[in-house]
Each structure stands twice: as C-alpha cells, then as structure tokens.
C-alpha cells in the first residue's frame, strides 16, 4: 500500500483551482485561436477576438478568465493500492477548494441549500466523483463549472428505436435552446447509454476530454463529427452574434444500457472549458 497524505491532496487541489480559472488547456487555446483566424462573420469574429485577448490578459495579469469561477467538480480516480492518511479525503478536497478560492481571489458561487440559498462563502462543497482503479496513484481532474452553460444542459430518455437520429435531434434541441445564453462557442459533452444518472455523469466527464481528441470508437467519432457539423449549421455563432462557431467540439462518452432505453445527456460547456488533471 502506498500512502498519500491528505495535506498533499489539499495543496494540489488548491493550486488546481487557481490554475484552472486562469489558464485554459493548450488544446482549448489553440482551438479558440484557430476559430478566430477562420471565422468570416464580422460580429462573430469580433467576439472571438475578444475571447483570445481575454485569455491572454487572464494568464498574464492573473485575473480569472470568467467571473463565474464555477462550482468545483472533481473527478477522482483512486487507486486501490493507495491508503489515504492524515484525515478524510473528501474533507481534504474541500479544504483545497476553500483555500484555492480564497487565495486565488475566485468568486464564491455556492449556496448551502438550493431553496434557502445562503452563500457558503468558501465555494464548498465541491461535487466529487470517485472511481476506483487498479493502481497505486490518485488522479484528480478539477473542472470548475459555470452555470450560464450548466443551466442549459438537458437529459433525454429516448426510446431504442429513436437511434442515431434521436440522439442528433436531442443534442440539436439542447444546443438551440442554449444559444447565446451559454456563452458560445460551446464545447458539448454528450453521454449516451447507462442509466439516468450514469448518463449525466458521462456527459460531464466528456467535457474533460481534450478538444483535439476524437472518441476511440469509430461510429461514435463519426457521430461527433456529424453533430458538430449540424450544430454549426445553426448559425448561432460566437457570443450568439452569428458565424460558424456555435460549437468548437462535441465529445461523446458511451456506456452499455438497458434493452428498453437510450438515455442521452447533453452537458453544455462554454468556451471557458476549464479542467486541470494531476496525478499523485
């Protein structure tokens, strides 16, 4: 058994919160840059120009890319050969979020009770997902999620007979409704299969895959391409002001499902598609 101190987890999560809110991953930066270079619609291009400048300013001056620094979503791959020592792993992660949001001057956007709505003032709790792996490591992906885009996400329980066309219609419906509200150009995370909650989980996880990487399953990567082309025919464009970049990428994750169902979840991601991964 390899031992990992909770303090190390906290320190890393803290740094990851600050990093994710000031720097996008290389693939996202390149993608936004090439969109700016190739957009022909003049308003859409203006928006993309601002977004590229925004990224530069954010990194250079350490001002968060977006004021909605999100609710912290953490995917933890916990190796079964690891023993976490010194305290609770959950609490260590939340402590990292607490410190990261405070020390990084990030906005506290979490309320304690969804109906009574009192700000917790430290952006905790995080939403933490655990997966057990066969290793002696902990891999954590932190993905702060803004709610302009989260609010436009949808889940559809389709019938098996709806097939590919049903999936395409579902995604297009969600994207059309999201439109300008979700800060396009978007990254679309799609979950197909599993159960109701597994499907939603897959769609969130899909947003953390690099935008220059296609699904390894050939008919799914084809579907990703087809969906992106369909979405970009909508003409919503960057900032909703028109053009060919309504979305930058569609990432699909799948899972086996029940003979009677075809769940499809569409997690709308904005252009501030933040995620940082570290392995301890």
């Amino acid at each position: 058994m390899r031992e990992i101190e909770v303090a190390v987890v906290t320190q890393n999560i803290k740094e990851m919160c600050i990093e994710a809110n000031h720097f996008l991953s290389r693939d996202m930066i390149d993608c936004l840059h090439s969109a700016k270079e190739t957009e022909t619609n003049s308003l859409g291009r203006q928006v993309l120009e601002q977004l590229n400048q925004n990224l530069e300013i954010a990194g250079k001056e350490m001002i968060p890319i977006c004021q909605d620094t999100g609710m912290a979503v953490v995917f933890v791959e916990l190796g079964q050969e690891v023993r976490v020592v010194g305290g609770s792993l959950n609490e260590a992660i939340n402590e990292g979020v607490r410190q990261g949001y405070r020390e990084g001057y990030l906005r506290n956007s979490v309320v304690n009770d969804p109906l009574k709505r009192i700000n917790t003032n430290d952006n905790t709790p995080a939403v933490i997902h655990y997966e057990i792996t066969c290793s002696d490591k902990i891999t954590m992906t932190l993905a702060p999620k803004g709610f302009g885009s989260e609010n436009m996400s949808r889940l559809f329980m389709l019938k098996p007979s709806d097939g590919y066309k049903g999936v395409i219609d579902a995604v297009i419906t969600a994207v059309r409704e999201a439109g300008a509200n979700a800060c396009p150009p978007l990254v679309i995370g799609v979950g197909i299969g599993g159960t109701f909650e597994k499907c939603a989980y897959l769609s969130k996880k899909a947003l953390t895959r690099p935008v220059n990487e296609m699904s390894a399953i050939s008919h799914i990567s084809q579907l990703e391409e087809e969906l992106l082309a369909e979405i970009n025919k909508l003409g919503i464009g960057a900032g909703g002001l028109g053009g060919k970049y309504t979305a930058l990428k569609v990432n699909i994750e799948t899972y086996p499902t029940h003979i009677a169902g075809l769940p499809v979840a569409v997690n709308i991601g904005c252009h501030v598609n933040r995620h940082v991964t570290r392995t301890l």
């Binding site: 001002i63 609010n151 409704e177 909703g240």
Partner: protein, 201 residues
C-alpha cells in the same frame, strides 16, 4: 453601421465617435433617450461613464422594495444596469473578473425597473417578449457584452464602489465607472432584436 439620414442631428455625434476604432460608436452613461434612439441592433459600442451592477439577489430585493413601497437604495432614473457579479478584486485592483451574467434570469423584474426610469441594460443572452415590449415602450436599449470575457472587460472598469446590499457580496450593487467597455446593441429602442425572435421565457 448604417447611417440613417433622418438621424441627421446625430451625424456629428457619429463622426466624432468614429475617431479611433472605426467600427465602434463611443457613448457615455448616463444615456439620454435621444442617443439611445439613434442606436440600432447590431451596432458596436464603447461605453464610458457610470453604470450600476445588479444580478439575481439585488433584483429580488429591489423588486420587493417596490412592492412594499419602500425607498430604494439607488434612484432608477436614467440608470444603466450591468448584470454582473464580479470575482473579488486581487491586490491593487479595483475589481476582479467582471463579465456579464445571463440576462434572462432578470426578465421578470425588468419591465418594472424600465417603467421607473432605467434606460439601459448590459448582459448576455436572450430576453423575453415582455421585456422587448417594455424596452420598446420606454425607448430603452439592451446591450450585450461578451460572456466569458471577464478579464478583458475588467480592464475597462476604472472604479467600483459598493453602494447597496453589501451583505450580498458579489451580488451587491456596485457603482462602476467604465472606460470604453465594448458591447453590442442587442435590442434597440424600436424593439428590434439582433437575436431575432428566439427568446427564453
């Protein structure tokens, strides 16, 4: 930008505003309605002057105060509201990241504020048919700023002072001074919507 000749009285204004960025019209808040009338959906503007931030929680309080006939912490006359809740200001800064939030969440409160003197709003995304109607009736304008460009936009804010509801933190009302804040006219005073008929209710 299309110049409409019946707006001849604004011509000199356009000319002077085109110095510098030829695409953008420079305007200063508080706005008068004549100026707002001259703007068209799709125009690019650079906003300077004084605007006030308010988002969900502040709107709810203003709305409740109006219902209960209580005094408001700010006069709504001629004001521009920016739907925005900033991230905390880092050391040596007046404000943190400061981009627009989704305007549609404020829709149910908006007509009442427009009727009481608010003349313009800055936000992102769609507005309801009721808001559009009220914008037209009151000769107001809805501007859109680029969502997710909070670092860039913060650089155009030279002063920020909390003037009401400090307990709301990022959701408090701030008096903001803008210098060439970039935005687009989304819904003009005629009720023309750059986004077309798409709306969120």
């Amino acid at each position: 930008m299309i110049l409409v000749w019946k707006d001849i009285q604004n011509f000199t204004f356009y000319l002077s505003s085109w110095i510098g960025d030829s695409m953008s019209i420079k305007i200063t808040a508080p706005f008068n309605k004549e100026l707002l009338k001259s703007l068209r959906a799709g125009d690019q503007v650079m906003i300077s002057g004084v605007v006030f931030s308010a988002r969900d929680a502040a709107h709810k309080r203003i709305h409740n105060a109006l219902i209960n006939g209580e005094e408001l912490p700010i006069s709504l006359k001629d004001i521009t509201i920016y739907y925005m809740g900033p991230s905390p200001a880092g050391p040596g800064r007046v404000i943190g990241s400061a981009g627009p939030t989704t305007s549609g969440r404020m829709d149910s409160y908006t007509p009442a504020l427009l009727d009481r003197g608010m003349v313009a709003m800055i936000g992102k995304g769609y507005r309801s048919p009721k808001v559009k109607e009220s914008i037209k009736k009151n000769g107001a304008v809805y501007f859109g700023a680029v969502g997710g460009a909070g670092a860039l936009l913060s650089k155009t804010i030279s002063a920020a002072e909390c003037i009401a509801y400090p307990d709301l933190g990022a959701e408090a009302i701030y008096r903001l001074e803008l210098n060439d804040f970039p935005a687009f006219v989304i819904i003009d005073a005629n009720g023309t919507d750059l986004y077309g008929e798409t709306t969120c209710e």
